[in-house]
């Protein structure tokens, strides 16, 4: 038995004064498992949106727990934009095989075209590129699979418009989110009834923070992609961001590659994900770093800053 859980469970000889209080992380874990089970029970064709990031890894770990000793009763769906880091794809294939999950990979045909005519952030700008390669591709994949529920790893602490998100978030037949049409959600009663074509996005990690996610990764020893850990990488300094170099990252006029010890705080496409300077090369160092951190997690995600309220606009279209 896991030592961390033992510590929560009083022994039989202790009575009366026993403190039966779940630790904060155990309570979040129980809440997420409850939500995952509700999803499996309430829907015909749920799918878990697997982005390869740390939140996805945590969600997958929770799904294994929720249905143990059975298998995870829904497939994982990965939207491959064609701009993913090779480490991410390798990690995905290893992790999925390791836990015996079923994976569906969806790639927009336009994402594969790496010529100047293809979809890329340089030609179209980050907003349109993201809309085509992530949002539209996701909506197509969910439609193809006839998914009536899609589990995501989004958290309320990530961004202002996400702070208003329900655990069960209603999407119309076009996959769109309308803040005014969200269903009231009380207690832990989740209304997952939908008409054909409509769907629910489910967020089991709604009440977790970035620090909770890392603390849980440490406690449960959950594998994550090496990009999260600091090492010396070749980067280009673009504005306030460090962009790790990759074959698909183009140098803009005047830019020179430099070597920096850095790590990614959140994972996205190669051209649009910035690294932060860091020495944190273990999970506990990341946690120590976060405890003092004064900057938000998605700051290094270029897409969120296109325009004021840009995440809200993406959400309305069907992005997370």
């Amino acid at each position: 038995m896991n030592a961390t859980l033992c510590e929560q469970i009083p022994t039989a000889s202790v009575s009366g004064a026993t403190d039966r209080t779940l630790s904060h992380l155990r309570a979040l874990e129980a809440e997420a498992i409850h939500i995952l089970r509700e999803t499996a029970a309430q829907f015909e064709r749920p799918v878990l949106m697997y982005s390869i990031g740390k939140d996805s890894s945590v969600m997958l770990h929770l799904a294994r727990k929720a249905f143990f000793p059975g298998r995870i009763p829904f497939p994982l769906l990965h939207i491959d934009t064609g701009f993913e880091y090779p480490e991410m794809i390798a990690f995905r294939d290893w992790f999925v095989a390791e836990i015996g999950a079923r994976l569906i990979t969806h790639t927009s045909p336009r994402a594969m075209d790496k010529s100047d005519n293809g979809v890329n952030p340089y030609a179209l700008g980050t907003a349109r590129c993201c809309s085509l390669l992530r949002t539209q591709a996701l909506l197509h994949a969910l439609r193809d699979y006839k998914a009536d529920a899609a589990l995501g790893g989004a958290r309320r602490d990530e961004e202002r418009s996400r702070a208003k998100e329900r655990v069960f978030s209603f999407r119309d037949a076009h996959g769109q989110w309308d803040p005014k049409r969200q269903r009231p959600e009380l207690w832990s009663i989740y209304n997952g009834r939908v008409s054909p074509g409509e769907s629910i996005r489910v967020f089991p990690l709604s009440n977790w923070t970035e620090l909770d996610v890392w603390s849980y990764i440490e406690r449960e020893n959950i594998p994550v992609v090496s990009l999260y850990f600091a090492e010396e990488r070749e980067v280009v300094v673009r504005g306030d961001s460090l962009i790790p170099l990759d074959s698909r990252v183009r140098l803009l006029p005047g830019e020179q590659p430099v070597k920096r010890r850095c790590r990614l705080r959140s994972l996205g496409c190669t051209p649009c994900t910035g690294a932060i300077e860091s020495d944190a090369d273990t999970v506990s160092k990341i946690i120590a770093e976060l405890r003092q951190f004064r900057r938000s997690e998605r700051e290094n995600r270029v897409i969120d800053h296109d325009q004021d309220g840009s995440m809200e606009l993406k959400k309305r279209e069907g992005y997370f």
């Binding site: 409850h34 089970r37 309320r156 418009s161 090496s226 999970v283």
Partner: protein, 575 residues
Amino acid sequence: MSVYRIATDGFPAARNASVASYLAAATDKPLLRFTTAGSVDDGKSTLIGRLLHDAQSIHDDHMEALRRSGLNRSTGPLDFSLLTDGLKAEREQGITIDVAYRHFSTARRRFLIADTPGHEQYTRNMATGASTADAAVILVDARHGLTAQSRRHAYIAWLLGIRHLLIAVNKMDLVSFDQEAFARIQTALHEAASKLPGVHFHVLPVSALDGDNVATRSSRTPWYEGPSLLELMETIEAPAWNTDAPLRFMVQYVIRPDLDFRGYAGRIDSGRVRAGERVTIFPSGVQSRVKRIVTFEGDLEEAFAPMAVTLVLENEIDISRGDWICGENGLPSVAPQFDASVVWMHEQPLQRGASLLLQHGATRVRAEVREIVHRVDPNTYEAEPASQLALNQIGLVRVETASALVCDRYRDNRQTGAFVLIDPINNFTLGAGMVKQIVQTEREQRHSIIREHHSTPVTPAERFQRYGHWPAVVVCRSAALRKKLERALFAVGAAVVALEAVPGRTQLRELLASGLILLVPPSTPPELEGTDWIEVVEPTSTQDYVQLILGELERLGLLVSRRFLLPAGGYVDVN
């Protein structure tokens, strides 16, 4: 290529927890969930922005964005409300549209705030925020005193089960930190408290704009000796999940990976369960014993609320999603009819006869609104007659479900006493309900309906389920008439017997315990003392009698619905 960093020994990695993670668990800070309420312009967003800022929970880039934005609707140097107003539409209009959830933590506690807006949709949003909160912060404008709106906020928080209300009397700077203004509000709250049993008001003078008594105590309120808002939030008792209450385990999902394993996955809503313990399944009433408490980390000896575990029982019984696994004592009610407080959340009003879906735990059933008992004026807390509940109104409603609901009163259990009402056509969540009392089990102690259990005696509730009525005594003068009535009632499915003489006291009690409707001749009161009885006089026709008797039985609550009786195919008129 190294693609992962931690689990070098492959799966399952979680089985090797480190000493470091053990220590991390030991220092884990407790979480307090609270909700906020205030009228428009009470300065709620400013207060929360100020709390987050003073507790150093605002990221630097967010502060920079705030400084850069150039927007400032406040009179202070920085507009803290911009930190919390989330959606673009809100920032433009300067209002808060929906419930937003935010985290922050101090050295002593972690907080999850459900920030709810104070304008038109406030009742709906506040009820939503309050449903998961341990405490509420209610803002009152020092200049206006305790308004109808403040009273309403206190009522909703109390109705949803919150017992700690932190009343922040804001804008004290605008009344020159006048102690009298503060004292008037305290007095008004004292009166309100008398109508909200169990509520604890914690009142404190603040200025959200300047930060007085928000994170630290202010020197401008020397007459106030209490803690600052943040100190109070850090120290008030946070009601944890009730692990001493009777066991309620909601079966969400049946796990059957192979023929050898059948586990019931769910959450412990209250109480605790141990391996080897006897349990009762609801609504079937079947009993069994817990064989294993299964988790990914291994089997447990004991599990408690709010843990999510999988139970394996000793014998093969038919259990599915929506069933409840309970202990041997403190059993839930099983009833098709109950009265509930309902917060209505939809533009289309709730009316008597409405046919809806009711979601409770892992159960979703058809439900009909039998009656709007009354509406509550949330400003005066008085009940008033009503024929419907409009958007944001609160009232007591009698609900009947298509199959009996396993539930508790909300005041006894916040998880198993709560439900939502859903539109069966467009699936929208229309209202929130809290069970106040079970209708037919209020009479005597006819608690649970337990069917077909070999070793327990047949209960009145089981007889009720079979016969469709509770026992009754019907007094009827002529012997011929009693025989005719017996035939007529028998024909509509009643378990009825006509007697020649009034039985003795003990015998009468036994006959009634058997669930029968007894047709007896008139007798002296002592024999019938303590029994509900109906006297029939001046006969006209047998059919009228049957109707009369059924009507009386209904009025007394002995017969819940005539639908429970067998289809009669017309009454037998033996006249």
